[in-house]
């Protein structure tokens, strides 16, 4: 895997809008579904308490609508993913089928977790997001293209300027979003840093 981190330059597919500001990770995946030692199978629990009512009957949540069942681009509003650091949240979305998220803004830990999974979190203005969400409502079978390299989101005849950010763009486009092996290869520099820290015993592992 270390040498095989795929490049993510562009994500295309149908979209699903989930509206609202400050959608927290407790909503994305309630805590009771965290009692697992593996992320496998979490997709079915994404937004569970909003997708199912108290009688466990499906609601009209966008992710329950047949027209969005194959969507892989999620379109959200501001401060999406705030709250708990649980990676279970992007894991659940990814395992439901989401490959890219477009929104007004993202909470930091959530965006970092998405990047660790190779999922772009791309931002655009509130007006552009609202317009995109409305277009998706009317055109659930049409594709949205998130171009990470060009920093654009394209749908129908519209190409919207989006912000990816230098760090995220480089990481995704150059395939360096999984940094474990890369960081491990800097062992000499790690040891040197540790040696200079007064609280680390001898600086050596």
């Amino acid at each position: 895997m270390s040498d095989g981190v795929p490049s993510v330059t562009r994500v295309s597919g149908t979209a699903v809008p989930i509206r609202g500001n400050d959608i927290d990770t407790d909503q994305i995946i309630p805590a009771r579904f965290l009692k697992v030692v593996s992320f496998e199978g979490l997709g079915q629990f994404a937004f569970f308490d909003q997708r199912y009512d108290e009688a466990d009957e499906p609601t009209d949540h966008p992710m329950n609508r047949p027209r969005h069942e194959d969507a892989n681009v999620l379109v959200v509003n501001a401060n999406f993913g705030c709250g708990s650091s649980r990676e279970h949240a992007p894991q659940a979305l990814m395992r439901w089928g989401i490959d890219a998220i477009v929104g007004e803004s993202f909470a930091e830990i959530f965006a970092g977790n998405c990047l660790s999974l190779g999922i772009p979190t791309v931002t655009a203005s509130a007006e552009e997001i609202t317009a995109l969400q409305e277009w998706v409502d009317g055109n659930p079978d049409e594709e949205v293209t998130v171009d990470i390299e060009a920093e654009t989101v394209t749908y129908s005849d519209n190409t919207v300027d989006a912000t990816v950010g230098e760090g995220q763009r480089t990481a995704l486009v150059d395939g360096i979003w999984d940094t474990t092996a890369l960081m491990r290869s800097n062992q000499a520099a790690i040891d040197a840093t540790a040696t200079d820290l007064p609280y680390v015993d001898g600086g050596q592992p």
Binding site: D26, R32, K35, D49, N79, E166, L182, V200
Partner: protein, 480 residues
């Protein structure tokens, strides 16, 4: 760009290199792990045939799923599996695990400082968003996801982008009954739940310097609720006094004096440059309560719940939805809002001074008939110390259930949950819909004394207005 701040200094001291993706690789001085977010990371490590790089800088405890009532093993199936997974991973890697048999178990953000391992100038990470708590000691501490836990386990380092620094100056002396919890809820109300995105918060000023370490931890703890991944207070004599009294420094004579110059050196310079400065009048704050479903939806206890139309346009719909969920009316104060459950616990407010404050309100009073009240000490050490002081007796006599340490009803991963649309007066940190285990449940965040007052009154109450009981030491608002 900031310069000369604690954040800059600690960052620079721990920076290994800049990675080709533009992120800095930071050395991690303390990695705290718990049972919910680490098992998958250990599995990923095993898949990649990698070992744990620095077990000696890693510490484990169990808090999220552990039961707080009957702790007889095995726990329920899922909880038991997670426990065993952590036990096995820790044993195989040689990581110390503070499980309930040690007498040192507790909420991870209570345990680290208690053990003397949370120190100024360290980088501290944990797979938990409330890791900023450790910033109370002048550490650079932040929450990470499970893939990043894998990175830290495998390398002892983490990849991060440097943030801007906002200094938040809280001036003046806090009023009677006003605590660190009220300060942070006031800050979040003003700056918003996403106001801190892209920033680290440095808290300073007279009101902050006067806080004890428990208060500073409550403050830094909720930085993430304001969108800031990390928050900190510069270390001072209060910090050093805490550290000197820990087992770690008592067991390692000489270490305290040896490390102290480093701690002093990482303090923000008097002429440090900040990316932003915000000043908050500490004297104007009063006990805060939330009326909605995000931590920024709060008011002073004597202030009315806002009309959604009076809020900025982008916050109005959220406010209307929240008021509908909570069943609160704008224009009225939160006083008198009926409460079904009182929860005193969590990494925000379950330390000894928190328990003392609540107990001083409960002394000579009893929990209202309609209220189910539980106190969940932050750690076994807190629990033992509280028992020694007679606090347990006070809580139990008043009608609180005294529980074993854990995260409990803050996130409701164990059996401690709201039922239906119950209202919880809670000393925790999140009032999100569904957070406390019931999607119809309602959470009102407040400080520990206010939780105790709500438990007694059966409704949200200004602790400063509780009628006296006639028992010495039971006056409300007594600062202990």
């Amino acid at each position: 760009m900031s310069e000369g701040t604690l954040y800059d200094k600690v960052w620079d001291a721990h920076r290994v290199t800049t990675l080709p993706n533009g992120q800095d690789q930071l050395f991690v001085g303390l990695h705290l792990i718990h049972e919910v977010t680490s098992p998958q990371a250990f599995s990923m490590l095993a898949e990649r045939e990698m070992d744990v790089a620095r077990p000696e800088l890693t510490l484990g405890t169990v808090d999220h799923i552990v039961p707080t009532d009957d702790r007889t093993r095995p726990y329920d199936d899922a909880a038991e599996e997670m426990m065993q997974s952590l036990e096995q991973n820790a044993a195989e890697a040689g990581i110390e695990l503070l499980d309930p048999t040690t007498g040192d178990q507790g909420i991870v953000h209570v345990v680290g400082p208690e053990q003397g391992l949370t120190q100024p100038g360290k980088t501290i990470v944990c797979g938990d968003s409330h890791t900023a708590t450790h910033g109370a000691f002048g550490a650079l501490a932040f929450g990470i996801g499970t893939s990043q836990i894998r990175d830290v386990l495998a390398t002892g380092t983490v990849a991060m982008e440097k943030k801007a620094v906002r200094h938040i100056e809280v001036t003046g002396e806090l009023g009677e009954g006003v605590t660190a919890k009220d300060v942070i809820l006031g800050i979040i109300r003003r700056l918003g739940t996403d106001g801190g995105v892209g920033y680290v918060y440095e808290y300073g000023g007279e009101a902050i310097e006067a806080l004890d370490m428990a208060g500073r931890m409550s403050l830094c703890n909720m930085s993430i609720e304001g969108g800031a991944r990390a928050g900190y207070v510069n270390p001072d004599e209060t910090t050093y006094a805490w550290l000197e009294s820990t087992d770690y420094f008592e067991d390692n004579p000489g270490e305290f004096e040896r490390l102290r110059p480093y701690w002093e050196s990482v303090r923000s310079d008097a002429d440090a440059d900040y990316d932003d400065v915000v000043t908050v009048d500490g004297t104007a704050l009063e006990p805060m309560v939330t009326w909605g479903t995000t931590p920024e939806q709060g008011v002073g206890i004597t202030d009315p719940v806002p009309e959604p139309s009076s809020l900025p346009e982008d916050k109005r719909q959220r406010a209307r939805d929240a008021q509908a969920h909570m069943g609160v009316e704008p224009g009225e104060t939160m006083e008198g809002y009926p409460v079904d459950v009182a929860f005193l616990g969590s990494c925000t407010n379950a330390r000894l001074p928190d328990l003392r404050r609540a107990a001083s309100v409960l002394d000579g009073r009893t929990v209202h008939d309609s209220v189910r009240a539980l106190v969940v000490p932050g750690s076994q050490r807190v629990s033992t110390a509280a028992e020694a002081e007679g606090l347990r007796e006070t809580f139990v006599e008043a009608g609180f259930e005294w529980r074993e340490p854990g995260c409990s009803m803050c996130l409701a991963m164990n059996d401690d949950q709201l039922v239906g649309d119950e209202v919880c007066a809670s000393s925790s940190n999140r009032n999100f819909v569904g957070r406390q285990g019931s999607s119809a449940g309602r959470t009102v965040l407040m400080n520990p004394s206010m939780v105790a007052a709500a438990a007694v009154a059966g409704e949200v109450t200004d602790v400063r207005d509780l009628p006296p009981t006639g028992t010495p030491g039971s006056q409300p608002g007594v600062s202990v």
